[in-house]
Symmetry: C2
Subunit: 425 residues, 2 copies
């Protein structure tokens, strides 16, 4: 069978091939050389802050003229503090342990062959993301630290910011005597994206950070390996006999502390035994924090007068990742019913139980099929930084390769090194 | 964002949903219960040998009438020994260690949260394969042992054999008090295949064992995670100063011992310094074993009279996985040139160097980007059984999740269990 295609070399392919060659160099650099590169990247970001802010101001001005939503403009906007934070983020990555070269497994076969399984970089990692310019420096730093070349594709609204950032980072690579092709910034053309995700044998991994539309586009067109970042339709379940004070604190934190992120909770499940004691307090605390509630019929009945003005929850509500100050509430008859609800509506990201029962805790952690299953803690901890894995490039809800936070180790693969003295089969 | 689709339940979806429910039961069975199930499966295969052979004879008769290639008929054909070997294969899987529940990593966060990363099954694993009925029992056994439900799709030419095998296995599940839906055999319809690989959220993993056409179909249509099994365009490189006796033994073994499998070698690379001493002996040994050689111009020149009747190798030859008694031979100027050739033409499966030099061995294992990189051993050892990982379901050349043999551990994913006492963020 024929394994190599001889196709036309487009500009995109040229950039990716150059990244691939540069990646081979990065792959073999010892940790201290990568640390020097990252340090140089951080310094360059601070040194060239003026240029970065100028380009960013143009992006912001255009976004405002184009009536882009204020929340998106805010995510696009850089100031001195934010640029400094970007540089600090790169330095934080430099301080992480190097997964490359780690031997996680090794053994000797009966015939004397020595097998060693070693962590090695993927090669070329493509990261596709939205309008936040700090993702450019975060993604570049994580790729370089894990010995991968980074092919980046940001959003059109951030194109000037991204172009100057990529230039600054490539300059830093040269300064640190590393091949500048190891960090490439692509344009924002859709056809180019389609071509990128079909470059089999050249792109080793694609990580899309973006909405459902981008994921659907990749599922339709990608021919190279993809790690799909997470949607988080997460639940907090309050078990019979739970510490209701703790349950209230966790439910409010999981919803309110940052409702727009994937590790926040969308539905509160309450065991029927606790419903009359817990629901009134929970409704007061959540609505008091500005959360709009959608409550099941049974819950509305229990709430009595307090239910005035609350909407009844539908299956569609349970199926929705609100990413906003909205929360569904449902009374369930048992832990099994809670697990069944989560199985039907959850997205496999982060699920929490509040309980005093060892049996309930064990059963919940065993039965719930999700990346992170919490006992007596907020779902909000699902995060590479919180987990002590350093910066993360995304959170994965897929089961293949990486589940949960994607940090440096998850940006590597393995290679079996087998050494013998003439063994044949 | 809406996360759950409410679509029509087709028959396929019903089967997969049943497998999913059954998988949840398997996922939580302790090892000794899974061992009992596997033992029952093996016994049932032997007990019902008569039925299995009868159905297989009908498949074989139809294949012969349809002028199917004799090699394929041989792969389809069962006899008493082969059926016993299938039962033994299931017992061998039962004897492997259970990866489920293994904690490979765990730590405590500064805030007191205890994080434990535990291996858990994928859920529903679909295996798509060709005409060998033993894959039915191997795949079912590996899935059950790793706590996964198996959705199997064999080839049309083996449909009667596969149907009876699936019936036998499902009967064994019932006998062992496990849900019979945990092993499902699908039909051989193409539309059904397309639907299967688009059942997002229901099928957790697809493993295609089959030709390039099947892989291309999956790359085009799959929306669920896939591990692509390997094509193996593998090389043996004979370094300057190598032990030429060892090199000859390894080159012949890597090509001749089983040319039709993915871990055999397709191209022999020889350092120029050894070419005049090594090529004549290699040509004699390989052609003497019945191998047809394609040799580079430089090699032909060195061979002089011995080159009579040998074809000159082309780039197309170097790019071809012959899977037959054909081998390309190329003289290279250096180890770097060998690595470059492998980088251009190899498929990242298994690569070998024969050398006495520590520097060459280290450089080759570091520079070559493949699942398994051998020093002084045949490429033919890339195999779950040879690696001591037990039966394998496939060999992976992709870098995502599993690279190299896919055994029981690779059929699991991880889950983070996080336990606290009220932590919020």
């Amino acid at each position: 069978m024929r394994l190599v295609a001889f196709i036309d070399v487009t500009e995109l392919e040229r950039v990716v091939r150059e990244a691939r060659v540069a990646g081979r160099v990065l792959a073999r650099l010892p940790s201290h050389r990568k640390a020097i590169i990252l340090e140089e990247m951080a310094d360059a970001i601070e040194r060239r802050m003026g240029e970065i802010l100028r380009e960013n101001q143009e992006d912001v001005a255009e976004a405002r003229r184009g009536r882009i939503a204020p929340a998106l403009v805010d995510r696009l906007l850089l100031d001195e503090d934010r640029v400094s934070a970007m540089a600090d983020g790169v330095r934080a990555v430099a301080a992480l342990g190097d997964p490359v070269g780690e031997v996680d497994h090794g053994w000797r076969l009966a015939n004397g062959l020595q097998v060693v399984r070693q962590r090695v970089p993927f090669g070329v990692v493509a990261v596709i993301y939205e309008g936040r310019p700090n993702v450019t420096t975060d993604a570049a730093a994580l790729c370089v630290a894990s010995g991968n070349a980074a092919v980046l594709r940001g959003s059109r609204i951030a194109r000037r910011s991204n172009r100057i950032l990529a230039e600054v980072l490539a300059g830093a690579l040269i300064e640190a005597e590393a091949p500048p092709g190891a960090i490439a910034m692509l344009g924002t053309d859709r056809d180019e994206l389609r071509q990128l995700i079909q470059l089999e044998g050249l792109v080793d991994l694609v990580i899309p950070r973006g909405g459902e539309e981008l994921k659907a586009f990749l599922k339709e067109h990608a021919k190279v390996p993809v790690i799909y970042a997470a949607a988080g339709n997460n639940h907090v379940y309050v078990d019979a006999g739970a510490d209701l004070g703790m349950a209230l604190k966790i439910a409010v934190n999981a919803k309110v502390s940052r409702p727009g992120v994937c590790n926040s909770a969308e539905t509160l499940l309450v065991h029927r035994d606790e419903a009359s004691a817990f629901l009134p307090a929970a409704v007061d605390a959540l609505t008091g924090s500005g959360v709009e509630l959608r409550v099941c019929a049974s819950g509305l009945e229990i709430l009595g007068d307090r239910a005035n003005g609350l909407r009844e929850a539908t299956d569609e509500d349970y199926a929705t990742e609100f990413l906003a100050m909205v929360m569904a509430v449902r009374v369930v008859d048992s832990l099994d019913a809670a697990v069944e609800h989560i199985d039907r509506f959850g997205s496999g990201h982060s699920e929490a139980i509040v309980t005093r029962s060892l049996a309930s805790a064990t059963e919940f952690q065993s039965a719930v099929d999700a990346a992170c299953v919490y006992v007596n803690a907020s779902t909000r901890f699902t995060d590479g930084g919180e987990f002590g894995m350093g910066a993360e490039i995304a959170n994965s809800t897929q089961k293949l390769h990486a589940r949960g936070p994607i940090g440096l180790t998850e940006l590597t693969t393995v290679k079996y090194l087998v050494t013998g003295d003439g063994q044949v089969r």
